[in-house]
């Protein structure tokens, strides 16, 4: 396991709870950071690595729920584990609907906590690798020339070479050449893979 490269952010207004949770998590091999309020966490520079939040709900200032909503609105998809003194079912359901990994009640057993943290980190990792793949595809698409982009969009739209050639006013042979170039630049071996790669970056089917 590569726990040390991932980081758990503990956000709770109770100092001794924070300290104890941090101890338990670091004894289990995680790097931790402690914040006594949601606002303090937001002041930290954005974290792009593998990590998750262990978040209390009722806190002075921004509540845990508020923080989750805020992060969602910022497209910050760091996984959130709620840890609260109030096992309030409706609040829990809402939190889970908004994508929380788990909704734990205090006092929490290490097994449940570590399990939730592991699941959160697995999710974070897969999200991050997905993100890096998307970034990679995006950068390759960005390398295409404007003409190649036009041809790509037409291919994705389901047009045949002849139709593309007619539409763009170029020869069919040129279209074929562009097509080969695109496949090469995007490192795709088949039109199907090409379609899949483009769907990752939400490239529009029709313009």
């Amino acid at each position: 396991m590569t726990r040390s490269d991932s980081r758990v952010f503990i956000i709770d207004d109770d100092a001794s709870v924070c300290k104890a949770l941090a101890r338990l998590l670091s004894a289990s091999g995680y790097a931790t950071e402690v914040f006594h309020s949601a606002d303090d966490y937001l002041e930290r520079e954005p974290y792009a690595g593998i990590g998750c939040l262990v978040l209390d709900i009722r806190m002075p200032g921004l509540s845990g729920t508020d923080l989750q909503i805020h992060l969602n609105s910022q497209h910050n998809d760091i996984p959130v584990i709620f840890l609260t003194g109030h096992g309030d079912l409706p609040v829990g359901i809402e939190a889970m609907k908004r994508g929380a990994i788990d909704f734990l009640t205090k006092p929490v057993d290490e097994v449940s906590l570590l399990d939730a943290v592991d699941r959160a980190l697995v999710k974070c990792r897969s999200v991050r690798s997905e993100q890096s793949r998307i970034a990679c595809v995006q950068s390759r698409i960005d390398e295409l020339t404007p003409r190649e982009r036009e041809v790509l969009l037409s291919i994705l739209g389901g047009s045949r070479n002849k139709q593309i050639a007619d539409a763009l006013g170029i020869s069919e042979k040129t279209v074929k050449a562009h097509r080969g170039k695109i496949m090469q630049k995007l490192n795709a071996s088949s039109p199907a893979e090409l379609g899949w790669l483009c769907s990752l970056v939400n490239l529009p089917i029709r313009k």
Partner: protein, 484 residues
């Protein structure tokens, strides 16, 4: 000893006993004039029985003259209280009739003492001695009837009408048992006496006067009814007291339940810290990564959190103890401050600012300290709940104590959404289900607690749009002013 002496003495004794019993009842339920009237009747009946015995045995006209005057007076003293007894007992409506009867009898008794041979006779010619069937002799007068006796007869007739009327009314009002026993009893024996006595007077029936026995019977039926009513009342009262005690206990538990939720939340924090610390220590030890310093630090933290938890439990226990209300002198400001302190965590985590203002002139009050603190705690919990729907940063609750007009007042104001217009009545009087939190139930109990201490509690909308709940406690005469 003669049979007549025995019978009339026993009658007198029975009347006396009933009279004493009614006096005792009257002393116990001194609000109720019914007992006083019935005891007066019974005392008079006792005297009447003894006088009657004298009348039956005397052979001197002079003595007879004196005794019959007194006997008439005793009859007056039985009948008039009886009329008023009926008036009070049945809440009879024809008061004028009772007044008329009383006036007639007052006039009659004046004549009784002014005319030479009492109200009954204008002259007594001779005293005849008759034999009872067992051979004993007794005295019967013979003489001219006093024309003023018609006054007494009219009064007796009116009494019959009056009692019959009251009885029928009461029967119609579904008080059948009372009507039957008291009204029926009185009517029956009055009719008996009213028939028997004139027959003896006229010499038609050769028997002694037996008015005392009729009166004894009336007083006895009254006693029977009144005593069973008193017993029933006592039983009902005991039941009621028990129910109220149970209800109070239930209500207190309910209130505690609400407060406990707050305290339990606080308890969760140190418990979480202790558990995680202990599990961290175990991990350190299992991984051989433990330095004695680290373990020592962890243990120190566990000890500290444990103390924190036990402090919370101590506070909770103080609230739960004492099922009976213990009234004492205490500093209200201090009690309010302490309770607010208990809620500090709750306020902080709910992002509510708390402002407190204590009037140093507030004196010590005499009440159940723990109960009053529960009331304050409950009101604060309610204020926090009211704030649940209010988003944003400007959540605030203010507590303020002050002195006004022989009272101390505690205001707890929130700036949430306020109350609907008619909420004050609903809030405190019934089980008001605004939410599933049982908010109103708490307030009903708060009201009870405050009112038992002689105070009052009310809610109104604040100028800021929130709610102010204020309760006041009386300032009792005490030299113990508290400096603040």
């Amino acid at each position: 000893m003669s049979l007549l002496t025995i019978a009339w003495s026993m009658c007198a004794a029975a009347c006396l006993m009933l009279a004493l019993m009614h006096i005792l009842l009257w002393l116990k339920y001194s609000q109720n004039r019914v007992y006083l009237l019935s005891s007066l009747m019974a005392f008079a009946a006792c005297a009447s029985a003894l006088l009657e015995l004298g009348l039956l045995s005397t052979q001197s006209i002079e003595t007879y003259r004196v005794l019959i005057r007194w006997e008439n007076t005793m009859i007056f003293m039985i009948l008039v209280p009886m009329v008023w007894f009926v008036q009070v007992y049945f809440h009879a409506t024809r008061r004028w009739l009772a007044v008329t009867i009383t006036l007639l009898w007052c006039l009659g008794i004046m004549i009784n003492w002014l005319s030479p041979y009492s109200l009954t006779f204008s002259s007594i010619d001779e005293l005849r001695r008759l034999s009872a069937f067992w051979g004993e002799q007794f005295t019967v007068p013979s003489g001219t009837e006093n024309p003023w006796k018609a006054l007494a007869d009219t009064a007796s007739l009116l009494i019959l009408v009056y009692v019959a009327d009251a009885t029928v009314r009461s029967w119609r009002l579904m008080k059948q048992r009372e009507a039957l026993i008291i009204g029926g009893g009185i009517l029956l024996f009055i009719i008996y006496a009213g028939i028997h006595t004139p027959l003896v007077d006229a010499g038609i029936v050769h028997a002694p006067y037996m008015i005392s026995f009729a009166f004894l019977a009336i007083v006895a039926t009254m006693s029977y009814q009144l005593a069973s009513e008193a017993m029933r009342a006592q039983y009902v009262q005991r039941e009621l007291q028990q129910t109220r005690r149970q209800l109070d206990q239930l209500a207190r538990l309910n209130l505690l339940g609400e407060c406990t939720t707050v305290i339990a939340h606080e308890l969760n924090q140190p418990l979480t810290a202790i558990l995680s610390n202990a599990q961290a220590a175990r991990k350190h030890l299992a991984g051989n990564s433990a330095s004695p310093e680290v373990i020592g630090e962890i243990l120190d933290d566990i000890v500290r959190d444990d103390k924190r938890a036990s402090d919370i439990i101590q506070r909770m226990r103080a609230m739960m103890q004492n099922n009976e209300i213990v009234r004492e002198w205490f500093d209200l400001n201090e009690a309010v401050r302490e309770t607010a302190q208990m809620m500090a965590g709750e306020f902080r985590t709910n992002n509510i600012s708390l402002s407190q203002s204590y009037d140093p002139a507030v004196p010590e009050v005499y009440a159940g300290r723990i109960e009053i603190q529960q009331v304050i705690l409950n009101l604060l919990v309610n204020a926090v709940r009211a704030m649940k729907d209010k988003r944003g940063k400007d959540r605030s609750v203010s507590i303020c104590t002050r002195v006004s007009n022989h009272e101390v007042e505690v205001d707890i104001e929130d700036n949430a959404n306020g109350l609907p217009d008619d909420a004050d009545e609903i809030l405190f009087n019934t089980i008001y289900h605004k939410s599933t939190d049982g908010l109103g139930m708490g307030l009903t109990i708060c009201r009870r607690i405050v009112e038992t201490s002689g105070g009052s509690i009310r809610a109104r909308n604040a100028d800021t749009g929130g709610t102010v709940v204020s309760f006041s406690l009386p300032i009792r005469a005490s030299t113990r002013q508290f400096p603040g």
